[in-house]
């Protein structure tokens, strides 16, 4: 077990290093990083000075070394437009993003797991068909369009909910549904097939044979085992939700990290984009690690191997 954990930790460090390298290297894709950041009306002298201040006149490995050693110490540079440390800006917006992602995750669990169980136990009923149709639609609908349609119907048409911004619970409903739609669809399909697989196992037959009510067979015996792959999927999805928040936040003007990133792109504030990408990807990597480590605790086959 310890060897597995050590290997997994080492792997995480390699991946984090790779993330930093890509986020850094992206700057050079345009040839000269300075030209991607400055305004069109800058004079040649201003650009030269900017290049010197940012260190772009150094060889790339010197720049990368500096970038990495600062990043390790928690210094992700200063925003070009907002004149504040990038990390401060990001962590100011983080609670809003986490709130949205957590709500979406909660929604996906509360809806997808019962839906998957009902689909599997009432296989080929109209409930099952309805659920799989909804899941197919949910997986084919781009999040930004779903968001706009929800705004159109519930915000503009019915006037039930506010259409933008962060405030009370009412503000949270539409963005959370928008962000949750895809995971709900995916988890429900996963839960359905997982239950179906478990229902064929001998211990389920035994539980039925000893006269247990079907409800208890499902909840006590089938669900416990069927949940393992679904829980993993949900854990891994949380990081993806943080990424997906970029689009959802920009539709609903939700003041989170995603919207900050989009604004930074429009303002050519590349250092801020870089920092946001590293932080979000970093969280994603760490969550994946935690899910894997949690798995070690849950599943004795990994623990003992």
């Amino acid at each position: 077990m310890w060897r597995y954990i050590a290997r997994r930790l080492l792997q995480t460090f390699i991946v984090l290093w790779g993330v930093s390298f890509i986020a850094f290297g992206v700057m050079f894709l345009a040839g000269d990083p300075a030209t991607a950041m400055v305004g069109e009306d800058w004079t040649r002298e201003q650009i030269a000075e900017f290049r010197h201040v940012m260190g772009f006149d150094q060889p790339w490995y010197v720049q990368y070394g500096r970038f990495l050693s600062r990043a390790v110490r928690g210094d992700f540079g200063v925003s070009l437009r907002q004149r504040q440390p990038n990390l401060t800006l990001i962590f100011e917006r983080m609670p809003a993003t986490l709130q949205l992602a957590a709500c979406a995750m909660l929604l996906s669990i509360v809806i997808a797991i019962p839906a998957g169980v009902i689909s599997a136990t009432r296989r080929h009923s109209w409930l099952d068909h309805g659920a799989s149709l909804a899941a197919m639609l949910g997986q084919s609908m781009p999040a930004f369009w779903l968001g706009i349609m929800l705004i159109l119907i519930f915000g503009v048409g019915l006037r039930w909910t506010p259409v933008a911004g962060r405030g009370g619970l009412a503000h949270l409903i539409l963005p959370a549904i928008t962000l949750a739609a895809y995971p709900i669809a995916r988890n429900a399909r996963m839960m359905r097939s997982s239950i179906l697989e478990v229902l064929g196992q001998a211990y389920v037959t035994t539980a039925r044979a000893k006269g247990l009510r079907e409800f208890l067979v499902i909840t006590r015996h089938a669900m416990r085992n069927a949940l393992i792959p679904v829980v993993t999927l949900i854990g891994l999805e949380f990081g993806a939700l943080l990424g997906g928040a970029v689009i959802t936040e920009s539709i609903f003007a939700w003041p989170g990290v995603g919207r900050l990133t989009i604004q930074a792109i429009y303002g050519r504030d590349i250092p801020l984009v870089q920092a946001a990408v590293i932080v979000l990807a970093g969280i994603f990597v760490v969550i994946n690690l935690l899910v894997d480590l949690f798995y070690v605790v849950l599943d004795p086959r990994i623990r003992l191997a």
Partner: protein
């Protein structure tokens, strides 16, 4: 084992029906895109400030009918949708070709040779998967700026991971089969074994993965265009049509509804075809369902 139970027969009939429906919808989309320069009722860029946001079926001052209405600049939505289909299909398919070729090559090498080559390639895959993909696209396009070829390139190059992993896994299982060992025994060169014996046997899995990837690329391109990072605003694309129209959502429902419907129907029909293809080409992959 693959056996024909009643449920599986029923499922394959349903899948086939869905696939036929998907095929019809997709053909319509392809036809719309292909014939756009000839059949589009109007020039997609032609603006008419006096006839902005007119509802579907509206007849303009020149007597032309706008079947899906006009947008915030008075442009014909149907014509723009037809041109937009070209962008979605071209991006979706070319990116899959790039990613598929790259992934297939790396996956074959990785699975066949193993060792440190395999380690390096798979760590690369891990690093890339550590990025939520939309973040990676955003990071790159934020620097490069929008552009059709840039979008195709980034979706294509980053797409290799899925094919790479599938190809590697398939190679690992194929590598030890008798016919590959027989090839080795009679002294065939490694490249010949890979290309003549291994590749044909993993191709169906790659086709299945690729068909789903066309759908996800279409959504990715639309999302990027929606964020202003995809194709430039001068090119009509479904994602950017939505982005431009969303500020007028209070005044008109049609400019934000039709492009999204187009994306959803296209993606849905590709996914339905992909499901069917998976059953048809590789029943082993669908046993879990």
């Amino acid at each position: 084992m693959w056996s024909w139970t009643r449920a599986s027969v029923w499922r394959s009939v349903r899948r086939a029906r869905l696939a036929v429906a998907g095929g019809i919808v997709l053909s319509v989309v392809v036809l719309m895109g292909a014939t756009a320069p000839v059949l589009a009722p109007q020039d997609p860029a032609e603006q008419s400030i006096l006839e902005r946001l007119k509802p579907p079926g509206f007849r303009d001052s020149l007597g032309r009918r706008h079947y899906l209405g006009t947008d915030q600049l008075g442009r014909d939505i149907l014509s723009r949708l037809m041109y937009g289909a070209r962008v979605s299909l071209v991006v979706g398919i070319t990116a899959v070709c790039i990613g598929g070729t790259l992934g297939l090559a790396l996956g074959l090498v990785s699975g066949y040779y193993g060792g440190w080559v395999d380690d390096v390639i798979m760590r690369l895959a891990d690093i890339q998967l550590a990025f939520p993909s939309i973040l990676l696209y955003i990071a790159v396009l934020a620097v490069l700026g929008p552009g059709l070829f840039k979008v195709i390139a980034i979706l294509g190059v980053t797409g290799w991971v899925t094919y790479g992993r599938v190809a590697r896994g398939q190679v690992l299982s194929v590598r030890e089969q008798e016919y590959v060992q027989a090839g080795r025994a009679i002294g065939a060169r490694e490249t010949r074994i890979i290309l003549r014996h291994v590749l044909p046997n993993i191709f169906s899995a790659i086709i299945v993965v690729g068909s789903f990837a066309v759908a996800s690329n279409i959504i990715a391109e639309a999302s990027l265009s929606f964020l202003g990072l995809g194709v430039p605003p001068s090119v009509p694309a479904w994602g950017s049509m939505l982005a431009e129209a969303r500020d007028y959502v209070r005044d008109a429902w049609w400019p934000v509804t039709f492009p999204g419907l187009a994306i959803m129907l296209t993606v849905l029909s590709i996914n339905a075809l992909g499901d069917w293809l998976r059953d048809y080409l590789d029943p082993r992959l669908s046993l879990q369902d």
